[in-house]
Symmetry: C2
Amino acid sequence: MIGIFDSGFGGLTVLRHVRTALPTHDVVYFGDSGRTPYGGRDVHTILDFSEQATERLFEEGCRVVVVACHTVSCVALRHLQQRYAGPGSDKRVLGVTIPAVEAAMEVTQGHIGLLATAATVRSNTYAAELAKLGQVRLSARAAPVLPPIVEEGWEGSVTAREAVRAYLADLSGIDTLVLGCTHFPLLRGVIEEVVAPGVHVLDPGPFVAARLVDWLRRHPDFDPGEGEGALRVLCSGDPTSFAAHGARFLGEALPVVHHVAEVDGRLAHRDPGDAPVGQVVRDRSRR
Amino acid sequence: MIGIFDSGFGGLTVLRHVRTALPTHDVVYFGDSGRTPYGGRDVHTILDFSEQATERLFEEGCRVVVVACHTVSCVALRHLQQRYAGPGSDKRVLGVTIPAVEAAMEVTQGHIGLLATAATVRSNTYAAELAKLGQVRLSARAAPVLPPIVEEGWEGSVTAREAVRAYLADLSGIDTLVLGCTHFPLLRGVIEEVVAPGVHVLDPGPFVAARLVDWLRRHPDFDPGEGEGALRVLCSGDPTSFAAHGARFLGEALPVVHHVAEVDGRLAHRDPGDAPVGQVVRDRSRR
């Protein structure tokens, strides 16, 4: 099976393209919706969460894990690759940044805009990867108001339009806009209404899926091959809410969503009814 | 010294009232701006961060710590009190929920609205504390879009007004609105424009400060007494940005902001220039 993870719902937009490109492959998706967003978090927290997500997907039977989250891909991908996919390992971890950067380079006339999380912008990874491919200008803007707008389901609202307008005002002169957070393809409609005419709005999702297909073709040892097109979904937040909201991101109804939660530094399957309510007093011996 | 902490800037609105009430007391403020917001996080992460913040303030010389953050106060206060302020301890930890609930009970005619974070609403702590004081109805709405709007400095924008309007539409019939997140007093202007006429908008900040004054009077052993009105500020995010944004919350310019960061599960003073950029590969032995 192929594993895909994201800090929450957003990666379902990537999963959607992977399902279209590889309709008979079996896929496991993990959305860390109980701990989203990652974009404002410190680096070590992002590394911890990314390790837990990757290990959970390996335990589910995946040998290839796609990091759909741009924040994790910009900050932690190399760490995950060195830790789990070094020489001799039968596992691989792939990201979204390089497909996004390559797709942007193909269409830009020289000035790329990036809307992303604060951690993605701060990492400077987009600029570093673009610089390897040629001389282009990058204008990047962290857009922390947009993910919660999408999580609320407010994509068509005045709130969404005004927030997008404010962010795009800081990216004047761009010819290409990279949607550098998996939440943002849901805002594509309002972004295209507001963005300056002629700007190419780029959702990296289809390019990530195309690159995965190509990579599996070139690495047949890692291709799990055709299955039944089964989809298994795990999340760390409320599974009912995940299934309800997730359909907007995936473009189809979700199967039963399984709940996992952090227990002693690992993500374990757990009944969501066990989640604590009210004041929580933790045993002194724990952590 | 008195310690105050919050998940970010917001608690500076509480600090503002504490400084007015106790102008000659010395205060240390910690804003966990590098890891904000807490409101969408799982309970154990909130407990971890709260422990780290409390221990940092004890190390700064505080014996009384005020948890300004409603999320922490609703979820982790009892844990912090049992862990650090049990029988025989010379430390105390105070929260904001009970002052907020008492203030709301004094003005309501029977139907209280609460705007807060998802974790605060999910905890049910407001409902539990209100039920101890009498029979009132509580309508609570998580408002995850509002904290990032305030962090962007967009309080006067159309985005802010439309988001507030959408949230208040889910709280119809209330007579009192508790601003149950320390970011929301910054939105008081736009909230009062949009809220139904006659609804009492309640910022718990002044009540928290008044309760602290009263508590210190009744517990003179814990009162550090008059100092020089000194203010020391720590944050876990970017100190320059914290100082620039924080002035809006505090209502006066901030002193030099010191940077702390998580190192091996503790918050230590650290040069912000040491923060990693780009792909971060962590030593396998760490954690």
